[in-house]
C-alpha cells in the first residue's frame, strides 16, 4: 500500500524526468552545435582570406614584382618600391620599439611599485587599442610638418609607437613567469640587481620577449593608416633615404587595388600575397616555438 502510494509519484516523476532529460539533451546538443558553428565561423575568415589572396595573388607573384619599380599603367612594372620600403621602415621601427618596450617592461616587472606599474600598464593597454590612424596624425604633426617633408623616418616612428605597447606587455608577462627563486639565488650569490636582471631575468624570459617582438613586427608590417600621413608612399625605390617619402606593401595594395587598370590590380594581389606570406611565416614560426616549448 504504502509502496504503491510512493510508487505513483515516483512514476510520474520518472516520466517528467525523462521528458526534462530529453529536453535538456536537445538543448545541450543544439547549443553545442551553435557554439561549434560559431567557433568555425571564427576560423572561416582566416581560411577565406588565405584562399582568396592565394588564389588571386599566386599567379601575380613573380621576381619582377619584387625587383621592378612601378611603371605607368603597370606595364612591366613591379612593387620594388613597396618591398624595399617595408624592409627598411619595419626594422627601424623594431629598432626603436624593442629596446623601449623591453626596458619599460623590466621597469614595471622588476623595479616599479605596484601603483606606478598599474598606471603604466593601463596606459600601454589603452595605447594598444588606440586607432592607428590617430597615431599617424600625431606623428605627422611633430615629424612631418616641422620638417616640411613626408619621410620614411616618421613612418618608422609611427609604426614604433604601435609596436611599443605590444612589446612591453608581452615582455612583462614573460618576466613575471621567471621564478622568483632564480632572482633570489642570484642576489644571494652577491650578484648586483642590474646584473641579475640582465643575466638571469631577461635571459630566462628571452623566448617570451622574442615572441612578443615578432608579433609586434608582424602587426606593424600590415599597418596602412599610420603611414598615410607620414611615409606618404612613393613610386621611387628609395634605398636608405629616411628623409624622403617611402612606400610599403600595405600602401602599395591600398593604392593599386582601387585602380581601374587590371595590371595594377594584379600587382596589388601579388603584393597582398607577399605580405600575407611574410606575416604568416612570422606568426607560424612564433607559435610553433611556443607550442614546442609547451609540449617539450
Amino acid at each position: 500500500m504504502t509502496g504503491a502510494v510512493i510508487a505513483q509519484p515516483s512514476m510520474a516523476a520518472r516520466l517528467t524526468g525523462a521528458r526534462v532529460g530529453r529536453r535538456r539533451t536537445v538543448v545541450d546538443r543544439s547549443m553545442r552545435t551553435i557554439a561549434m558553428g560559431a567557433a568555425f565561423l571564427c576560423a572561416l575568415p582566416l581560411a577565406a582570406v588565405l584562399f582568396f589572396v592565394a588564389a588571386n595573388g599566386l599567379s601575380a607573384l613573380s621576381l619582377d614584382l619584387i625587383t621592378k619599380p612601378p611603371r605607368a599603367l603597370g606595364i612591366g612594372g613591379g612593387a620594388a618600391n613597396a618591398v624595399v620600403g617595408t624592409l627598411q621602415m619595419v626594422p627601424l621601427a623594431a629598432l626603436i620599439a624593442v629596446p623601449v618596450g623591453v626596458l619599460g617592461a623590466v621597469y614595471i616587472a622588476e623595479f616599479a611599485n605596484s601603483r606606478s606599474a598599474r598606471v603604466i600598464r593601463f596606459c600601454a593597454d589603452v595605447l594598444v587599442g588606440m586607432p592607428s590612424i590617430l597615431i599617424g596624425v600625431f606623428v605627422f604633426t611633430f615629424l612631418v610638418l616641422p620638417f616640411k617633408q613626408f619621410n620614411g623616418f616618421a613612418g618608422s616612428v609611427a609604426l614604433a609607437v604601435i609596436m611599443i605597447p605590444v612589446v612591453m606587455r608581452t615582455t612583462e608577462e614573460s618576466l613575471h613567469l621567471v621564478p622568483n627563486s632564480l632572482r633570489e639565488a642570484s642576489l644571494a650569490l652577491g650578484v648586483p640587481a642590474w646584473r641579475t636582471v640582465l643575466s638571469v631575468v631577461l635571459r630566462t624570459g628571452l623566448p617570451g620577449i622574442l615572441t612578443g617582438s615578432m608579433l609586434a613586427i608582424a602587426r606593424a608590417m600590415g599597418e596602412t593608416a599610420p603611414l598615410l600621413f607620414t611615409a606618404l608612399g612613393s613610386r621611387v625605390v628609395n634605398v636608405g633615404d629616411f628623409g624622403r617619402p617611402m612606400d610599403s606593401l600595405p600602401l602599395f595594395i591600398y593604392v593599386n587595388a582601387r585602380q581601374p587598370v587590371d595590371a595594377l590590380n594584379q600587382q596589388a594581389w601579388g603584393a597582398a600575397f607577399l605580405l600575407l606570406l611574410i606575416v604568416l611565416i612570422i606568426n607560424v614560426a612564433v607559435r610553433a616555438r611556443s607550442w614546442g616549448r609547451r609540449i617539450g
Binding site: A72, L73, K148, F150, G233, S234, R244, R258, V261
Partner: protein, 388 residues
C-alpha cells in the same frame, strides 16, 4: 632636412611642369598643339633651362586626374635625365593644395585653380605659380545592362537629366527623361535603380563637374552649389578618379563622373553630353581641345582659369578643365629649382606630344606659350632660374 625639402620643392615644380604638358588639348588640334610644341620657346637668354648635373629628387603630390600622364612624363624624362627623380603621389587636388600650403612637397598638383582664400592661407611671403599642363574632360561613366541583358554602351544625356540623376530625382534607368534622349535604346532601358558614385575627397574633377551642374541647373546651384567638395544629395563616395571608376565598374546600374582618361583605361562607357549648340558630344581629347580653343581669350593672366563649361562650337565637349602643377615661385633649393624648371619645360614642350596617345588633351598653342613664359618667373634667392 631643409636642403632635402628644397630639393623636394624643385621636384614638385617639375611635376607641375609635367602636368601642364598633359593638359593641352592637342589631340584634336593637330599641328598647333602637342606634337609641334617640342621646340624651346622663342625667347632671349638660355634657349632652355639647364638640367642640374647632380642627383636630384623632386617630390610632389596632388590631383589624380593627371597622375597617369605625369607617370608617363616622369618615366620619359627620367630616361633622358637619370639623375633627376620625380616622385608623384596621386592623393587628390584638395590634398595637393594642402600639401603645398603646408610645404610638405616640392610641388603640388590640382585640377582646380587655388581659390583666393586658399592663397590667403599660404605661409606669409609664399607665392605659388599655377602652370597648366593639360586639359581634361569630365565624363559621366555608367555601368548598365539593358533589359535584354546586353550591356548598354551608348547613352545621350543633357544637363537637366544629369542634374536630375545626381540630385536623386531620377532614380531608375528607364525614367522618361532618359528615355526621351535615347529613342534608339529606349525600349531596352531597364528598371534598374540608379546608384550614384561620387568623390569622397577634395577634387578638381568634382569642381568642374559641379560647376557644370550649377550652370545647367538652377536647382543644383541653389541647393548644392559648386566646389571641390559639396554635400551630395545622393550616392556613395569613393576616393580619387580611380576610386570612382573602380566603384562604378563593380556593379550594374551605377553612374559616376571621372576624368576622360579614367573612363578610357577602365573600359567603362561614358555618356554623350548635349553641348551649347544642342549637339550630343562624347568626351574626347578633340572635344576638350575645341572647348579650350574657344576659351583661349578668356584665359586669365594669373592662370587661375575656371572650368570651361558649355563652350561654343558643334564639336565642343561641355565639361572641360585645365589641370595645374603648383609651385613655389621662389625655390629655396637652387638645384631642385633648376630640375623642376627643366622638367616643366620638357613637359610643356616634348611632353605635350605624349598626351594624345594616352587620352589627354594637350594645351592650345597660345596657352602653352604663356605657360612657358611663366617658367621665367621661377626664382631662387630672388634671381630667375631661367632668365628671359
Amino acid at each position: 632636412m631643409t636642403n632635402r625639402a628644397s630639393r623636394l620643392a624643385s621636384l614638385a615644380f617639375g611635376a607641375i611642369v609635367v602636368i601642364a604638358g598633359c593638359t593641352s588639348p592637342g589631340a584634336t588640334t593637330g599641328p598647333t598643339t602637342g606634337g609641334q610644341a617640342s621646340g624651346p620657346p622663342a625667347s632671349g637668354g638660355m634657349s632652355q633651362p639647364q638640367v642640374p648635373s647632380g642627383n636630384v629628387t623632386l617630390s610632389g603630390a596632388g590631383a589624380t586626374f593627371p597622375a597617369l600622364l605625369y607617370q608617363v612624363w616622369i618615366e620619359k624624362f627620367g630616361e633622358a635625365h637619370s639623375n633627376v627623380t620625380v616622385d608623384y603621389q596621386a592623393i587628390g587636388s584638395g590634398g595637393g593644395i594642402k600639401a603645398i600650403t603646408q610645404q610638405t612637397v616640392d610641388f603640388g598638383a590640382s585640377d582646380a585653380a587655388m581659390k583666393d582664400e586658399e592663397i590667403a592661407a599660404l605661409p606669409a611671403g609664399t607665392k605659388i605659380l599655377h602652370v597648366p599642363t593639360a586639359l581634361g574632360a569630365v565624363v559621366v561613366i555608367f555601368n548598365l545592362a539593358g533589359a535584354d541583358g546586353s550591356a548598354i554602351k551608348k547613352l545621350n544625356l543633357d544637363g537637366d537629366t544629369i542634374a536630375g540623376v545626381f540630385l536623386g530625382k531620377i532614380t531608375t534607368w528607364n525614367d522618361p527623361a532618359i528615355a526621351a534622349l535615347n529613342a534608339d535604346v529606349a525600349s531596352n532601358l531597364p528598371a534598374t535603380p540608379i546608384k550614384v558614385i561620387h568623390r569622397s575627397d577634395g577634387s578638381g574633377t568634382t569642381n568642374a563637374f559641379t560647376t557644370y551642374l550649377a550652370t545647367v541647373s538652377s536647382e543644383w546651384k541653389d541647393s548644392v552649389g559648386a566646389g571641390k567638395e559639396v554635400n551630395w544629395p545622393t550616392g556613395d563616395g569613393a576616393p580619387g578618379n580611380d576610386g570612382v571608376s573602380g566603384g562604378v565598374k563593380t556593379a550594374d546600374g551605377r553612374i559616376g563622373y571621372v576624368e576622360l582618361q579614367y573612363a578610357v583605361v577602365s573600359g567603362l562607357s561614358s555618356a554623350a553630353v548635349k553641348n551649347a549648340n544642342g549637339k550630343f558630344v562624347a568626351g574626347s581629347s578633340a572635344g576638350v581641345t575645341a572647348a579650350a580653343e574657344g576659351a583661349v581669350d578668356a584665359f586669365p593672366d594669373d592662370f587661375r582659369a575656371a572650368p570651361i563649361i558649355n563652350g561654343p562650337g558643334d564639336d565642343t565637349y561641355p565639361i572641360a578643365a585645365y589641370t595645374y602643377l603648383l609651385l613655389y615661385q621662389d625655390q629655396t633649393d637652387a638645384t631642385k629649382g633648376q630640375a623642376l624648371t627643366a622638367f616643366l619645360h620638357w613637359a610643356l614642350t616634348d611632353g605635350q606630344s605624349e598626351e594624345k596617345a594616352i587620352g589627354y588633351a594637350p594645351l592650345p598653342a597660345p596657352i602653352q606659350q604663356k605657360a612657358l613664359e611663366e617658367l621665367h618667373r621661377i626664382t631662387t634667392g630672388g634671381s630667375p632660374i631661367w632668365p628671359m
